[in-house]
Symmetry: C2
């Protein structure tokens, strides 16, 4: 294998992935497929699950020993529930080699970036990232090497960012087929509250309304169409992961939730007041915006 | 073709379909494929669209003349926005042959059943129906003969139902592969408010929150994942159709909307009070119920 040392075709000696699920596993598959690193080490808590990820060619080797796992790594990719990311950074810092770049796939950025920046020494870089490629289908079993192809990957560097580190992480994501967006972490969290976090709360609330009804009307479970299935699909996502998202982005989520409730209340009052012409306009506007996506 | 006159293999001379869209077109395709009628007549407002439906083998012949279209029909299937159903019934009544069965595919049942029952003479039967097979993909171009296969079709006969007429409509749907549920119209409307109408309002409200944000943050349009796409897919449905659903089921929709807002407010207060353990339980319950579907 030709090993270009600089620029786009740079090849790393070792990339460590902490958390080999859908995102971590797909990242590993992509690194291996594109030969971005000579070795992909997978780190997790469950060795038998990790060994399955080895069989799936998501990682080359597996360990549950954090120290051994990150030893000598050029890049450490952390893909675990958001609140656990800074905890892991703290744990691994003493074992990282000089110049190591830590990056992550956390769904919220401002709070953890602030926390992690406090811990870093000069020799270790952190590039905060969020590939928009999650799904309710969790686990390395659902991973695929092209998961990030044409997906957006948002990078939210802090003020202390090392430009070379940022460039290297950008290059890796580009080689995985992702489209890069560099953005302020607070901006990211604000936008994602509307495009991801509030839709999730809506799906959860819909499931609870449904669950209450299904408890007294057994037929409800049968009278479900494609609309309900689509709208509530994300409610099957990891509770642990989403709890962390709401906890680390509570201010933006609460703001967006106020907006969402305002829209619901508007629709409610139009139905109450039998103003179906204006309701029709609201439905049409939503249809136009949705079709334009 | 062997023409069994009675029971399951009964074959009709003429079935008229008023409104040849996704549902009407799929119904026609199925009638033709299963040879349930010798002739399928399509009736609509736009002759060129109807002629396309002929080419797609959704109907045998097309007309925009209601009188000509329903003349001699054994069955008239009405698949138009809910509020237009009683209007059409009123229009066609003078032209129907004795013993004709009218049936429909309206998404709400109690209000229109009440309205239509008032108009009927002894010689004409109405069997209210709702095949749960709609989608945001409208038009006969999206129709397919197996759309109703394994889908539930709810029939909501009123007190004056003619049992033979009900049996005949049940047989037709069964031959289309649908699973039949016979149910009180008010029960239907109550259940569907939770499984269909409130999810639709949630999707519409999410699109409006998104549209407001996208107006000031252009990046929002790019930072959309599969979750948002799924949750808001139904917002692209026909505004006219949905306006009618909310108008004809306003009482149940408002009740369910109150429940939905209560759930949203509960989640909001848990985030405000940083009670993420209880939020986690709410997320887990939703996940369990969703996964069991």
């Amino acid at each position: 294998v030709v090993n270009f040392v600089l620029g786009f075709y740079m090849k790393f000696k070792k990339i460590a992935i902490i958390g080999v699920g859908l995102i971590g596993g797909s990242f590993g598959m992509c690194i291996k497929k594109k030969r971005i690193a000579s070795e992909v080490m997978g780190i997790g808590r469950n060795l038998s699950r990790l060994n399955k990820a080895v069989k799936l060619r998501a990682i080359d080797r597996a360990t549950i020993d954090m120290k051994e796992g990150v030893k000598g790594a050029d890049i450490v990719f952390i893909s675990v529930p958001v609140k656990t990311i800074p905890v892991i950074v703290k744990k691994i810092l003493p074992f990282l080699k000089k110049g190591c770049i830590i990056t992550d796939a956390g769904s919220t950025k401002a709070e953890i970036l602030k926390e992690i920046e406090k811990m870093l020494s000069k020799n270790i870089n952190f590039v905060a990232g969020h590939p928009i490629a999650g799904s309710e289908n969790q686990g390395a079993g659902n991973a695929r090497p092209d998961l990030f192809k044409n997906a957006f990957c948002v990078l939210t560097p802090g003020k202390r960012i090392n430009k070379s580190a940022l460039k290297q992480i950008i290059n890796i994501w580009k080689r995985c087929g992702a489209k890069i967006m560099v953005m302020d972490p607070k901006e990211h969290d604000r936008i994602l509250s509307a495009t991801s976090h509030i839709p999730h709360i809506a799906a959860i609330a819909l499931m609870h309304v449904f669950s209450d009804l299904a408890g007294i009307k057994k037929e409800a479970k049968l009278l479900i169409g494609g609309g309900f299935r689509d709208t509530t699909r994300i409610a099957a996502s990891s509770a642990e992961m989403w709890k962390d998202i709401f906890e680390t982005n509570s201010i933006e989520v609460l703001k967006a939730l106020t907006e969402f409730k305002r829209k619901i209340t508007k629709i409610e009052s139009l139905i109450k007041n039998k103003d179906f012409d204006r309701l029709n306009k609201i439905l049409k506007h939503a249809k136009e915006v949705r079709e334009a996506l």
